[in-house]
Amino acid sequence: MPVLSAENPAGAPSVKHSEVGLAERVVEHRLSNGLQLLMVERHQTPVVSCIIAYKVGGVNEQPGMTGVAHLYEHLAFKGTQTIGTKDYRREVAVLRQMDQAWSDLRKERDKGPDADPDKLTAYEKRFRDLERESETYVVPNEVGEIYERNGAVGLNATTGKDLTRYVVSLPANRLELWAAIESDRMAHAVLREFYKEKNVVLEERRLRYENSPSGRLYEAFLSAAFSAHPYGMPVIGWTSDLEALSRAQTETFFRTYYGPGNAVIAIMGDIDPRATIRLMERYFGAIPMQPPPPAVVTIEPDQAGERRAEVEFEAEPSVLIGYHRPALDHPDDAVFDVIDSLLSGGRSSRLYKTLVKEKQRAVNVSTSTGVPGARYPNLFMIQATPRFPHTPNELETAIYAELDRLKTEPVQPRELQKGLNNLDADRIRSLDSNSGLASHLSYFQAVAGTWRYLPENRERIARVKAEDVSRVARQYFVKSNRVVATLVKKGKD
């Protein structure tokens, strides 16, 4: 494949990629086991970004097992029956004994004051001894080490409400390495160093949520917003659930949700799509099809009245405001995108102009649509930070006044056009990053059912009219549909 030279002697581009839309550049392929593959060629640099997204996340969890999707994501880096072990046969025997020892210890501990202290000591010792023994078989962090040795950058994974993604960028000639590791992880993952990794996740929880003012507030906000649907539970998991999770439960979760039919691969960069399809067939093709995972059945009932939550913390105040809205596939979805951009798209947007520049009550304000996920009915969220001496309450008043304006004053065509201009420019800019575009494509394929959501939604947004905006504002931005969470400084009344 010839590499596009940036120093073209004639000064004229050899390929006018900019004139070719995204829709023409995505190559799709589906394996017979259901695995979906998306590819975009881009030959500027001999590198490739690879994402494998699984349609699983916090939304698939049950009370008592919160955090299992994210914990598994951590364990996916512990390796397989081949990678990360010196002797898998011996190792797995010790792992099973360890699970038994942990379960005995856990049962005794759960007796609380009635627990037998001698038994506790004995179980604890047995568990620690086995844990030490199991470590002798481990090649620590071998997945990461193989990737890094091969020049990987941006090796990471994220777990959200709707999906879990594993991302990495590699020199383009290492694509086979990626296929070998990821197919092995899909088929033969081994949950080793399980109990230690739980402690790492508990530290992550302390870092991002317990001791972070914004993390704490967000957790309380979601809990208040959803009384039934799993969108109300934290992806990182409650501490007690994480402590109680067993290796067997986590493995069952993996077996249920990590089949090939539940996965999307997006590969963007210096590749030949035909050769890439052959490669993926070779590595992933033999992985057996799996039954589809169970559906999320819970539907959040209508909210009958405003909900408010307060978090006390050693930090200055801030506020989160949410309104329930329908899922991504609802016709009003594009209208919320437009409202999002009207309210907080840049310094000339409505909320920034009013709250930060004119009234000067806030240091920042932002909105997001699709919180905490988008596949199921979710929230349109407004975040604002007051500037002393102004209070979160004063910000609420000013924000509600702006939302009321949306209901009554028709939006001017120029304001709608500005939003569309930015959407189009963002789409061009997103093509500049292999990892960024791979991330977009895999997200919409997994959550919206097709990556074509991207171009289609652009057309839906272009058709949104002033009266759609006012209708949606009137319908959803009402007090009884609202959730408000406020961070207040500890020790202040």
């Binding site: 997945v143 930090a315 002393f388």
Partner: protein, 482 residues
């Protein structure tokens, strides 16, 4: 061998129905040739007024990007007006120019989906424009106006100062911020330009005249290195930029040297009390300059110790093996004007604070006393060399780096030299730089958290200096009753 293992697994995992696939190849033993790649280079041009341009055209997308570095920095602001550089840099963008004031500028830029910014950091000023090709001429006019003729209207300065006060009020909300700022103060001293912080008083003193004076003292074309990348024709672009800045006369700059840093070792233990369940740790001391001949070997040392992702020792020991932290690692910050910092960072639950500090200390000691293995060195080198291609991911990155190397006085082939030096580094060199640049006997240990919940008192590492968090003092003239 692999085949036997898989057959065994099918029997074990009965819930995973079907035939287990056979691995096509073992990723542990796969080998690949090095990536052959000859990245393009930006062309350097000097304009009559002294402005340096780096141009790299790339016609993939209809975008043009400008990125300027301006020779200035907060290190040059007066000690009684800390915050002046920051307010000047932001004010250039937020206030607009006499021909288009800030709010109208925001509106126009956002309508054409252009992004324009200006800021001044510790040792450089930055200005950038990211615009669609079709809007480039207008974008360039606005960009040139921002650099040459900022209006600095009083109302935008007043607002920026109010925002700065709020930033100071919120400074101690997040433990990571407290730990980072306090560590720099412990190393450089609270008054040194590399560590000092703005206060309500220093911000309060800053006037519009100060912004005008700071801008005119440093913003001259001969102080600007501008990189240009994207979809354009080079000759035409040079002409456009020449015209846009034609009336900007060169000027003289006064860049006083930084006050000397006190490089005496300062072994010490510091505690900042905050009611949180996790202790934030910063452990380290003064680091090295980027032009230090040891810099290359130190980069590999740092990679092996704690900056190398999954394979680094701190990650393996403190996170993977002991389960004590989610984020843990080390970094030698880039020392441009002065020596940088060597920092080990980590966060752990209060009851394992002592255990985590001890584990970190052990790793710092171990890499000095035990020679690293050939395997350690090979891994670090392969990771560096195989990921080298990502230094050339797009034309903006290439052009901006060339500009940055010139700004910091580094040779144009710095990156290539770096690569060649890394190839040649030996275990003995790593050991020598570890001995010289890691000083476990002189660590500054800083903890933010709740000492009443620590596993062992911090005093086991030395006598503890308790740093009080200063309560926020209201700026004069603000009434809290409103």
């Amino acid at each position: 061998m692999a085949g036997r293992v898989f057959i065994f697994m099918v029997a074990l995992l009965i819930s995973h129905a079907g035939v287990s696939p056979v691995l096509a190849a073992d990723p542990r033993t796969m080998t690949f040739p090095p990536v052959e790649f000859h990245p393009p280079a930006a062309e350097r041009v000097v304009l009559e007024n002294g402005m340096v341009l780096y141009l790299l055209d790339d016609h993939e997308l209809p975008l043009v990007r400008l990125h300027a570095m301006i020779r200035t920095g907060s290190v040059y602001e007066p000690a009684d007006k800390i915050g002046l550089a920051g307010l000047t840099g932001m004010g250039m963008r937020s206030g607009g120019s006499p021909s288009i004031l800030g709010d109208a500028l925001d509106e126009e830029l956002e309508f054409m989906a252009a992004e324009m910014s200006s800021l001044i950091g510790q040792d450089a000023g930055f200005a950038s424009l990211d615009v669609l090709k079709k809007d480039f001429d207008r974008g360039l006019a606005l960009f040139a106006d921002m650099l040459m003729h900022p209006a600095f209207p009083q109302d935008k300065l007043d607002l920026a100062k109010l925002q700065a006060f709020e930033g100071i009020r919120r400074r101690n909300d997040n433990p990571a911020g407290i730990a980072g700022r306090q560590f720099a103060i412990r190393v450089y001293g609270a008054d040194h330009p590399l560590a000092r912080e703005s206060t309500v008083e220093t911000i309060g003193r800053i006037t519009r005249d100060d912004l005008i004076a700071f801008h005119s003292a440093y913003y001259h074309p001969n102080a600007v290195i501008l990189s240009v990348s994207g979809d354009f024709k080079k000759r035409e672009m040079i002409e456009k930029i020449r015209r846009a800045f034609a009336n900007w006369p060169p000027g003289k700059q006064d860049l006083p040297p930084l006050p000397p840093i006190d490089d005496a070792l300062k072994p010490s233990v510091h505690l900042i009390e905050k009611d949180i369940s996790q202790t934030h740790l910063r452990i380290g001391h003064l680091g090295i300059r980027q032009d230090d001949p040891d810099y290359f070997a130190v980069t590999l040392l740092d990679d092996i110790l704690g900056n190398g992702g999954f394979r680094s020792r701190l990650f393996k020991e403190v996170r993977t093996r002991q389960g004590l932290a989610y984020s843990v690692g080390s970094i030698f910050t880039v020392g441009n004007l002065e020596r940088g910092l060597f920092i080990v960072y980590g966060e752990t639950k209060a009851p394992s604070t002592h255990q985590a500090i001890s584990a970190i200390e052990r790793e710092i000691n171990r890499i000095r006393t035990e020679p690293i293995t050939e395997e350690d060195l090979r891994l670090a080198k392969e990771s560096f060399l195989n990921s080298f291609v990502f230094s050339f991911s797009n034309s903006a990155q290439i052009a901006n780096r060339q500009a940055s190397l010139e700004y910091y006085g580094l040779p144009p082939d710095y990156l290539e030299r770096f690569r060649d030096r890394v190839v040649g580094v030996t275990r003995e060199e790593i050991r020598a730089v570890a001995q010289k640049h890691l000083r476990p006997e002189a660590l500054i240990i800083l903890a933010v958290g709740r000492p009443d919940r620590f596993d062992q008192p911090l005093s086991s590492f030395g006598s503890v200096n308790v740093i009080p968090l200063e309560p926020f003092r209201e700026p004069a003239g603000t009434s809290p009753s409103r």
